[in-house]
Symmetry: D3
Subunit: 198 residues, 6 copies
C-alpha cells in the first residue's frame, strides 16, 4: 500500500488485514477512488475499527430528521472547534458534496456563525458546539431553541450523538497524527459535469 506517511503509527499491509476490514476498504476505494486515511490508520486495531465504523454508520448513514449535509455540517463545525486537521478537511469534502454549496465547508471551518446556513441550522450548530466544547454547562434550557426550531427529541439525540462521536474521532486523529488524503481538498469544489446526452 503506497499511502504516504499519514500517521504516527505504522500502516498495515492491506493484504494482511482481516477479510471484513479489507473488504470494507476495497469497497470505499471502489466508490471514492481512494481509501481515506481514517480507514487506513484505524485498521491496525480491528476490534476498534469495527466498533468505530459501526458507530459511524449508525449515526451518519441511517434515516434521520437531519439531512446528510446537516450531519456533515455538525462534523466540520465541531471538528473546527478542536482544530482537527483530518476531520475538517475530509468531512469538509463531504459537506460540499452533500450540500452542493462549494463554499460552505470553508466557511464552517472558520466560523459557523458567518456561514451560509439557515436559522434552523444555526440553532443546531449552537447546540452542537456547546456540547463539543463546554458539555458540563449543557442544561435543559439549551434544548428549547432546538424544539422551537422544529427538531424532534430524536433529531436532538442525533445532533448530540454525532457531536459526541466526532469528539472521539477528533482525538483519535490527534493521537495518531492522522492526515487528510490529498484527494479531499478539491472534492466538491467544481461543478459536476453532466455526461453528454447520447
Amino acid at each position: 500500500m503506497s499511502i504516504p506517511p499519514s500517521s504516527r503509527y505504522p500502516i498495515p499491509v492491506l493484504a494482511e488485514l482481516p477479510e471484513d476490514i479489507r473488504q470494507r476498504m476495497l469497497a470505499v476505494q471502489e466508490k471514492a477512488g481512494f481509501i481515506p486515511n481514517v480507514f487506513v490508520v484505524l485498521s491496525r486495531r480491528p476490534e476498534e475499527f469495527r466498533a468505530f465504523f459501526a458507530y459511524h454508520d449508525a449515526l451518519m448513514e441511517k434515516e434521520s430528521g437531519l439531512s446528510k449535509a446537516e450531519r456533515e455540517m455538525i462534523v466540520v463545525a465541531t471538528s473546527a472547534a478542536n482544530d482537527c486537521h483530518y476531520c475538517v478537511i475530509a468531512h469538509g469534502a463531504l459537506v460540499r458534496i452533500r450540500s452542493k454549496n462549494p463554499r460552505l465547508a470553508d466557511q464552517l471551518a472558520v466560523n459557523y456563525r458567518s456561514a451560509e446556513i439557515n436559522p434552523r441550522q444555526r440553532v443546531m450548530l449552537d447546540f452542537a458546539l456547546k456540547l463539543a466544547v463546554d458539555s458540563a454547562r449543557l442544561e435543559d434550557a439549551d434544548f428549547e431553541p432546538l424544539l422551537a426550531a422544529g427538531f424532534s427529541w430524536e433529531d436532538i439525540w442525533d445532533i448530540g450523538a454525532i457531536t459526541a462521536f466526532f469528539a472521539l474521532s477528533n482525538r483519535l486523529a490527534a493521537l495518531t497524527g492522522m492526515r487528510a488524503n490529498d484527494e479531499f481538498y478539491l472534492m466538491g469544489r467544481l461543478p459536476v459535469q453532466k455526461p453528454p446526452a447520447s
Copy 2:
C-alpha cells in the same frame, strides 16, 4: 423497570428490548446487582448501544500494558476535566475496586496532580488530559515522556483511545442528562469482608 428518572429521554421497557441487549443488561445485573444507567439510557438506540459497548469492551476488557485500574484512572481523570456526573461517579467506583485504594477516585475527581499515583501514572494522566482538553496542541514531543516512562506505542494508543472514547461518553452523558445509580457511591469504599473459614 423501576429505574428512577435517570435521563432526559424515556427509558425503554427491558422486556421490549432486542434480545442481545436485554441479555447483556441481565448479565450485568447478575454480576453487579443493578443495571448501571449507561446501559439503560443508551438501550433505546440498539445500533448505537451495540457499537458503544463493542468499543468499550475492545478498550477496557482486553489485555493491555495498562492495568484495569490504570484504565479506569484515565476515565475518571479525563471525565473530571469535563465535569461529567455519570462518568466520574460510576467509574470512580471502578477505580476504587480495581486499585483497591478507597481514596484514589475521590482524589482523581478533584485533581489528579495531588492523587496517590506513581510517576508513570502521572505521565499517563498528563498525556490523557492534554488529549482530552487541548487535542489540537498534541505533538510528537508529548509522546517522549510516555516512552521514557516505559509505555510502548501500543500502550500509548490505549491511553489515547480510552481518552477519546470517554470524550464521546462524557458528551452522551451530558446530552441525555445521565445520572449515576445510587449504588455506585459506596462501592469499593469498605474493606471486603472475608467469609469466615468454615
Copy 3:
C-alpha cells in the same frame, strides 16, 4: 504527633504549640476523633492560625439564613472549581453529615449543576461560583436572582464571604500541599446506627 506527611512544610510538635492553639486542636480531636490537617498545617504560624479560624468560625458557626449544610455546599462547589484536594474532600464529609445526603458531596465535587439541590440552592451556587472564578464580572444584576429566591442581603453577604474565605483557604492548601486526612473519605457515607434501646 504521628500525622503522615500532609504538607510541604514541617509539621509542628503539638506539645510545643501555644496553649490556645493546642487546646483548640485537642478539642477538635476530642470531637472528631482526629485532627484535620488544616489545623496541623496552619499551626506553625500562630497569628495566622488564630485569624484564619476566627474568620472561619465567624462565617461557618454563627446563626445565618443559610443552613450549615448550605454553607458547606458553597465550600465544596467553589473549591471544586479550584480543584482543591483538601477542601473538596474534607468539606465533602461535612456536606454529607450536615445534609444527611450521602451522594451530594460527590455530585458537587463534579458539577453542581447536576447535583441534588433545590432551585434556591442552585441560585446560591451560581452566584458563589461566579464570585469564585470571575469576580471582576460580578454586577448588580447578579444579585437579583438571589433576592428573588428569598435570600436577604445578609444572606448574600454570607454566601459571598464564605466564597471569599475559601478562595483564601484553597490557595493556602495549594501553597502547602495540604492533604486530606484518610478519615474524611468515609465520613457521612454510612447510615448512622441508632444505639440499641436499653
Copy 4:
C-alpha cells in the same frame, strides 16, 4: 455596482468614490478580475481606506526576508485564531497562489501545527500566534527561536507587524460583517494551464 450584500454597512457607488480610491479599485479589478470586498467595504471611509492600504502595502508588497507566501501564511494562521471569515478565505487564496501548494491554506485554517511547513516557518508562526492571541506574555525569550532559525531583527519586525496589522483587519471584518467574494474559494486550487504552444 452589483456587489452582493457583503457588509453591515451600505456599499458606496464606485462612481462616487474619490478618484484615487476609484482608480485603486479599478486597478485591482483589472488584475484579479473582481474587486475584493475589503476594498468595497472600507471605501466608504476614504481617509481610513488610504491609511489601511498604505499600511498593508508597506508590509505585504515590499522586499523582505520573508517570502510573500510566508507573509500570507502569517495572515491565514493568525486570522484563523480569530475565526475571521474574510481574512482566512481571501488570504487563503493568496497562500495557495504564492506557495503553489494547493493544500496549505486549508491546513493553516485548521491548525498550523499540522500544516505542510518547514521548521523555520513553524517558529515564525509560533511567534505570530503568541503575539496575536496572548501579546501580554511576549517576552525576550520568545525572540530566541526566531534568531536561532535565521530570522533577522528586521524579519521579526515584519512578522510582528503583519500579525499586528491583521489583528486590526480581523476586527474591521468582524465589525462590518465583511464577507469573502465567491471568487476566492477556488483560486489557486487548480493547476495553472499552460497556454498551448503556438
Copy 5:
C-alpha cells in the same frame, strides 16, 4: 536623542529621519514637551510610521459622535484587556486630560465595569471589549444596545475602528517592548493652575 531604552529595537537619530517624520516629532515635542515613545520607536520604519499616524489621526482627531475623551476611554479599556504597558499608561494620561476626571484612567485600567462612566459609555465599552477580545462572536445582536443608546451607525464604526486600530497598536508595543515615557504618569492628575489675573 537622549531617550532612555524604550524598545527592543535601536532608536533612530532624530536628525537622520525623513523630514516629514522629523517635523511631526518636533511638533509633538513642541506641544507636549516631550516625544512620546510611540513616535520614537516606530520612526525607524518611515512607511509604516506614516500609515500608522495617518490611520490614528483619521480616527482620533476628526469630528465624531464620540467625544475625544470617549475615544481615549476605548483605547484604555481595550488596551487594558491586552495588558499593554505603553497604551494603558500613555493613553491613560489622555483620558485624564480629556475627561477632566483624574480618577477615570486608573479605573478603566483595572475594570471598566466599575469606572465612573455613564450608561451610554458602558454600552460603548461593552461593544469595544467584545470586539477586542472575542471578535469571532460579534453578531448583529451586539449592535442593538448601541443603537438603543443613541449611537449612530457611523459612531459604531468609530468605536469599532478605534478598537481595531489599537488591537494593532497593542501588538506593535508588545513586539517592540515599547515603554511609556515617565512624563505620562503624572499628566492630568493635578488641577490646572489658572494663571494669576494680571
Copy 6:
C-alpha cells in the same frame, strides 16, 4: 460620616460601632487623613472585621524576608489579575509610597512582566500570579525558582499567604462593590517636600 456611596451595603455610623473597631478606624484616620473604604465597608460585620484585619496585620505588618514594598507589589499584581478596583487603586498607593517609585504601581496594574522590578521580584510575582489564578497547577517545581532566587521557605509562605489573603479581599470587594477613596489616586505620586530647615 460623610463617606460617599462606596458599597452595595449600607455604611454603619461610626459612633455606633464597637469601641475597638471605632478606635482602629480613628487611628487610621489620624495617620492617613481619611478612613480607607475597606474599614468602612467591613465594619458592619464586627467579627469578620476583626479576623480580616488580624490576618492582614499578621502578614503585612510583621518582620519578613519580603520588604513592605514587595508585599504590596504582590497585592497589586495579583489584584490586577482579578481586575479588583479597590485593591489595585488603594494598594497601588501603598506600592508608590513604600517603593518610592511613582511609576511602579501603574506598571504592575497593567502587566507585571514589563514593570520596573528586579529578577528576584519577577520570580516572586510569577509564583504569586500562578497561585492567584491557577492554584490547582501549583507543584513542587514552582518552588525551585524561588529557592534559587534566595527566598527562604518562610518567605515563600509569606508570598503565598499574602496572595491567598488578597484572593479573599478581592472577592469581598467584588461582593460589596467597594470603591477606592479619592485620596488614594494621587498618594505617592509627588516628591515629598522636605520641611524647610528651621
